[in-house]
């Protein structure tokens, strides 16, 4: 990539991109636009906290040194990058290092995760996710409307300009995980719609 394009076409393109940047900044000021980067960094921090406030069923002895695997199901990879960067070098409960993997679908690689974050861009619906889960000890976290009510364990909700959580205890029970009471201070409980 040439940082200083000299052709007139390239100059025009550079001017346009500068203008686009200014326009983007102006549009930030007008409405209630949210900082998407910050939104995913907050969600990454929540996902990190969930590893400490949720108890998974005990792993077989051979796996006790295994890292904690967080899968991010993300169509374009933007959320995955932010989350991976935020959790670089972090460890979950009992010192298990956290590994962040990019998932492209609900497949065998997804089954190897302890926790999966399903982004808006993935386009999956609650029924598909629930069917695939079928009692696996995986905590699925989503950010689409009504995610927890459709069977996910935790859903992120945007209330105004803050990120809150919804918890589905029935979903947690099916996955065999135990949620800490501390989560009640930042989450509200929802009931499944089916």
């Amino acid at each position: 990539m040439n940082a200083f394009p000299t052709s007139s076409f390239a100059k025009a393109r550079r001017t346009l991109s500068v203008l686009a940047l200014l326009a983007a900044l102006f549009s930030l000021s007008r409405g209630a636009a949210n900082d998407v980067g910050l939104e995913y960094r907050i969600k990454a921090a929540y996902l990190y906290n969930f590893t400490k406030f949720i108890e998974w069923p005990p792993a077989p002895a051979a796996m006790s040194e295994a890292p904690f695997v967080l899968g991010v199901l993300d169509a374009d990879g933007a959320a995955y990058n932010i989350i991976k960067e935020s959790l670089r070098g972090k460890s979950g409960a009992n010192g298990h290092p956290i590994v962040v993997r990019h998932l492209t679908g609900l497949d065998a690689e997804a089954s190897a995760c302890n926790q999966i974050f399903i982004t808006r861009s993935s386009g999956l619906d609650g029924a598909q996710i629930r069917k695939w889960l079928d009692g696996q000890p995986i905590v699925v976290v989503g950010e689409t409307t009504g995610f927890a009510e459709q069977g996910g364990v935790i859903g992120f909700v945007l209330r105004g300009d803050a990120v809150h959580c919804e918890i589905n205890l029935a979903g947690a029970q099916r996955a065999g995980v135990k949620l800490s009471g501390r989560l009640a201070s930042v989450a509200r409980l929802v009931h499944e719609t089916r």
């Binding site: 900082d35 998407v36 939104e39 921090a45 906290n49 803050a162 501390r182 409980l189 009931h191």
Partner: protein, 687 residues
Amino acid sequence: MNFVRFFCVGSSAGVSLLKKSGTALLIALCCLPCIHGQTTSTSSAAGVAASAEAADDLTDLSLEQLHDLSISAASKHAEPLFETPAAVSVLLPVDLERAGSSSIAESLRLVPGLHVIEALPDQWNVGVRGGNGIQSTKLLVLVDGRSIYDPFYGGVLWANAEVALPDLARVEVVRGPGATLWGANAVSGVINVISKDARDTLGGIVTIRSGTEETTQAHVRYGAQLDSNTWIRVYAGGASTEGATGQMSEDPKSGYQEYRTGYRSDTVLSADATFTSQFDYLNSRRTIDGDTSSMQTASFLTRLQVANFAGGEMQLQVYADYAKEAAGRSDLGGESSITAAVNEQNKDFDVDLTHHLHFGVHDFTWGGGARLTDNSVQNTENLQMDHPRLETWLVNFFAQDEVALAPTLKLTAGTKVEYRDTIGWEPLPNVRLSWIPNARQMFWAAASRAARAPSRGEREVLIRTATLPGSDTSLPIRMELSGNENFGAEMNNAFEAGWRWWPSHRFQFDLAAYEFIYDHVRSFDTIAFLDPGPPANLVYRAILDNDASAQTRGLEASWKYRPSDGWELNGGVSRQAASTRNMTDNPIVAADYWTPDWLWHVGSWWQLPHEWEFSSTLYGVGRTPGANLPGYLRLDVQLVYRPRPDVELSFGVQNLGDPNHSESITGNALPSTEVRRDFYVRAQWRF
């Protein structure tokens, strides 16, 4: 949603003044240097380009901190409270839970500079920055923007300011005058109790608390979604306190019972507009030494918030309020005590409009409102009002602008102009300056003028406070207290400054200093005359006047420190002094300017294994020089067991170290009880 919105716009929604000016600043900064790739530290927190490299490690935050962060790109600082040029504290539900508070008034002990007195079962007196008589006359208390203020007493009845803990969003406390945005009576402070949006209280919750002080509290709430864009919650609750040691007698027949019910609904009208409606009803009864008084209040409030209205955010609020009080007896002191029963009815109808917009480097808020109050007090033998029933109007306009003078310097100037029947037109200006050199610390200073409007009682009442029988050599004597139709507003010229140092997410320190100069303060002139009767009486009458003055000054500090994930510490300390001139010795009046010389607290919370948590808070109240009262210490401890998100069990002791003590500073002048050690159990279940 965050304090700054409250302070500038006066409600819990709408984008804040300061956040918007942060955006204006960003544009100002970036339009010039951004092409050269320069950014300053103040602009790094916002903007799409900067977010990926911002140094903040959010995994360092506690769950509760994450819950409160703002992702609005307009914020320079993810915690906008940081930028506010005022002495502000926010109490979150988690703070009240950990302190084991059973009421909102009690939780205010956690704010430096606030002196909280438990005077009677469920009757609290709260003084901000000096002075804590029976009435909290200079403190404006709001619930969701609705004023809780009794126009007859000129004070706050705290039972009206309760929101059950599961439905509470937060309590915002501004120490210092808030007159420009809130009008007269916001003289020493403003407290806004904000309830949660109905969307945040779905499902059911039951809470029961029971203590050895024979205090029992119960609360039930259920919230649901009615249709695709309406949510509603309904609640019912009650409390009962039996028996307390009175200062004046050991009569066990003292107690308090209350019942409450109400609802709140929130409707999303469009992407930009929300409509809220709330109804609350309270019925309470208090018995002291066999005499019973009762109170019923009902209020209905509606609010419309529009995010894109004529270039900014708009809020329109309309509410109607009804209160009925029947006081069985008010003991007004003296050797032969007199019963002065007060039967009062009060109706309020209030309309308020706020509009907030920004252009260029300006962040501008303006608005206005009107309130009609219909107050009637029944005349009795010992208490008479000039007008048994009085309708008064209150009309106000306000405007406030915040200008970025330089990248790190902001000036806020504004005024409210109020018209009240009792004091005519009153301008209430304020000016504030804030200097924010970086994202870790800021300095602010403010000067403002506030007024405390006269209450109905102060202008019209004639109370017989005592009678002494005659003898062979002297006539019977009658003592009276008289209002004055010319009694005017008490004024406060306030000067404040503060420093906020938040070096990391784990440590925060706030410091504030103030000097309040009160003028036209309530005083008494005493006259004596002969009332021919028959029967003949010698009358000593104390008439209210505005001849006194007072000064209070002080320093307040508060801090929070989170050494590790499972341990949090917090604390506050304040030092204050007051002096008065031309002030009577009568404690009912003079106590307004009495203050403990020190107030401090330190609290600690630990996460223990297996879902147990332990917290303890130690409070210290220094001696009150004016009343010559000693200070006291109070220790509260609590153990909480939270096995799952839907079940919670707490065990605690309030006032652990001390079997009982008196907190009231008016001594024997007014009924009060002693605060006793209380062992309690609290259970909460969500369904």
